[in-house]
Symmetry: C2
Subunit: 217 residues, 2 copies
């Protein structure tokens, strides 16, 4: 079956991923997470992007346990967002976020028989451990080993992570060719409208859009 | 560091695991999940067991997304609990439950620097795909690949699954030698007090307790 569930934050990368999946798969679901992130406003953009893309279903999942964890500057408003990308693991790392997101997406995949889970991680310019190829490979193994769908059907659930070897600039160029409405995406860690323009997410986004000669309306 | 976070349902197996961890580790945390299970009453037992065992902290995590998934007879009250253990995957399977539980436990492990996650799965007499050794091994790989704690410290987070090669009878005998208060555990899928005595969890429990010559007060 050519179906997929896309992890959709509402940001630039996951929007390009959603448009790519619309092209590659017959049936597209989207899933977004409310984990108490500083930039919860991104979910409004995820909803709008899902609507424009015409997905079968946009699932929004709450993860209340993250209120108990607050080392991350994306979860704790008293933490500073200004740390640079050079650190080994940035302050914006949210503990095991991608594993939790993939595991929950896989629970929907398992029950609904969705054979692909798409995630917009890119390792080349990302400092997060859970964006690396070795993480994606082992998460896929764990999902397949634990799934009743796989056990019953002898089929596989694949993680589709097409941006793993791409830079943010290349992702934006792909999005341009796919007609992604970049003005409907939101990437700012601070969660302000308009975006702060200063955080790592804003500066990386602006650089990539500038280099791809994209001017937002 | 000899610390551990124990996945504690309030059932017989996880109680034995908790007592074993009290013996093996210096610092013991417990984590339980409210995922809308039919037998939510088990959390009351988990709380009481945590208190008796004297854990550092008992974390209870809500997983509201399971209300959107209802193929499992543990989540959907209209489904029958009576299916036997012989089926390839039982009706009581909850999609990707153990991966989600381990991933969330690992988010606490990652932030608090807890180097072991204990889970009471036993493969010998369990029909669930997410109770098999190959699942545990791959989940451990995914956790280590995605963790910032591992990335920063170059240490490991291990999954401690000491019951993998044991039968339920052997687990009960171990619990007996450790002084587990079996009367404070709860295993019934139906969620009634007293337990229904008829579901798979009840019959397996009674058989194991009978064979170990344990009479509950």
């Amino acid at each position: 079956m050519k179906n997929v569930i896309v992890l959709l934050s509402g940001g630039l990368d996951s929007a390009v991923l959603l448009w790519l999946c619309k092209q590659r798969f017959e049936e597209v679901f989207a899933i977004s997470f409310d984990y108490g992130q500083r930039h919860l406003v991104e979910l409004k953009y995820a909803k709008e992007l899902s609507k424009i893309a015409g997905v079968c279903e946009h699932i929004v999942v709450k993860l209340p346990h993250y209120s108990l964890l607050n080392d991350s500057s994306l979860l704790n408003l008293e933490r500073d967002l200004s740390q640079s990308v050079e650190s080994s693991v940035p302050q914006t790392y949210v503990p095991m976020r991608n594993l939790i997101f993939l595991a929950i997406a896989s629970s929907f995949a398992d029950e609904k028989g969705i054979e692909n889970i798409a995630i917009g991680v890119h390792a080349l310019d990302s400092p997060y451990p859970d964006c690396r190829p070795e993480f994606i490979t082992s998460a896929e193994s764990a999902i397949n080993a634990g799934s009743s769908y796989v056990s019953k059907t002898k089929r596989r659930i694949s993680i589709f992570a097409p941006f793993l070897g791409m830079t943010k600039g290349e992702i934006v160029n792909l999005g341009k060719s796919l007609g992604v409405p970049f003005e409907k995406t939101y990437s700012c860690y601070a969660g302000t409208e308009p975006p702060c323009g200063k955080c790592l997410a804003c500066t990386q986004r602006e650089k990539a859009l500038f280099e791809a000669k994209i001017t937002l309306r």
